[in-house]
Symmetry: C2
Subunit: 147 residues, 2 copies
C-alpha cells in the first residue's frame, strides 16, 4: 500500500505521515524496490489511532506515550487513564485562560457604545490596564522521539 492510500485510509495526510516518521513517532515504513514506502493494514490502524488522538488535542509527545501503552499488551489501564486525565487538565486550563479573556473582553464590549464617536472603553482599557497575567506557557517540548 502506497503512502497515498494509507493517507486516505487513515485520514492522516501523506505529508504528516512522513513527518511522524521523521520525528520518530512511527517507525520507518518498509520500502518497496522502487523506494516507495509500503504500508500494511496494521500501519494504517496505527495511523488512525494517531489521528484520533490528535483530534482530541493530544500533542505528539503525549501520543508517543499513548502509542507505547497501546502496543504494550501488559499495560495497566491506570497508566492510560493518567495520561488522559493529565491532558484533560491541560485542556481545562487552556479553556479557563481563554474564558478569562472572553469575560474581560465581553465586559469591555458591553461598555462600548459602538457608534460613530471615537470614545471607546476598549481602547481606554488597553491603554490603562496594569500588568496582566502573562499566562504561564506550557513548554514541555519533544526534540526527537525514541531511536
Amino acid at each position: 500500500m502506497n503512502i497515498g492510500q494509507a493517507a486516505k485510509a487513515s485520514g492522516v495526510s501523506a505529508k504528516m505521515i512522513r513527518y511522524y516518521e521523521q520525528i520518530g513517532l512511527i517507525p520507518p515504513a518498509d520500502r518497496k524496490d522502487s523506494g516507495y514506502r509500503d504500508y500494511s493494514d496494521a500501519d494504517v490502524h496505527m495511523l488512525r489511532f494517531i489521528r484520533r488522538a490528535r483530534d482530541l488535542g493530544f500533542a505528539v509527545a503525549e501520543i508517543n506515550a499513548l502509542l507505547g501503552l497501546w502496543r504494550d499488551r501488559s499495560r495497566q489501564s491506570a497508566d492510560v487513564k493518567r495520561v488522559a486525565a493529565a491532558h484533560i487538565e491541560e485542556l481545562r486550563e487552556k479553556i479557563a485562560s481563554l474564558q478569562q479573556m472572553v469575560d474581560t473582553l465581553q465586559d469591555l464590549v458591553d461598555c462600548c457604545a459602538g457608534d460613530n464617536r471615537p470614545d471607546c472603553p476598549i481602547l481606554a482599557n488597553f491603554e490603562e490596564a496594569q500588568d496582566g497575567p502573562q499566562a504561564a506557557h506550557p513548554s514541555a517540548g519533544l526534540k526527537r522521539l525514541s531511536r
Copy 2:
C-alpha cells in the same frame, strides 16, 4: 531609554520589541549615535497597549488594526467594537472545540477502570473511532504588516 528599560517598563521583552519592529507592527525606533534603539514614554505606552492586547489573545494582525484605530483620533468606536467582537467569537469557537475534546475524553476516562488490568476503553475508542471532525482551521495569516 534603552530597549531593556522599555522592555521592563512595558512588559514586552526586548526580543519581542525588536520582532515587532521587524514585522512592521511598530515603527522603527530612533537610534542613538551608538546605534542603540532609543524609546520615549510614548513608545512604552504603545508597547503596553500591545502587551495588553496580546494578553487578551489578539493576534498580531488584529493588534495592528487596533493600533491603527488607537492612533486615529477620528475613529468610530463601532470599528473597535467590531474587531473586539470578532475576536471574542474566535475565542468562543476555540473554547467550544476544546470543550468538545474535554467532554469526549471525560466520558472515556469515566469508563476506564484505571487499575492494573490492561483493558482500557480509552485505547479501545482510539482504535475504533470513525473519522473525526478534523476541526476547521483558522488560517488568516499576516505576511508582513504595512510599509
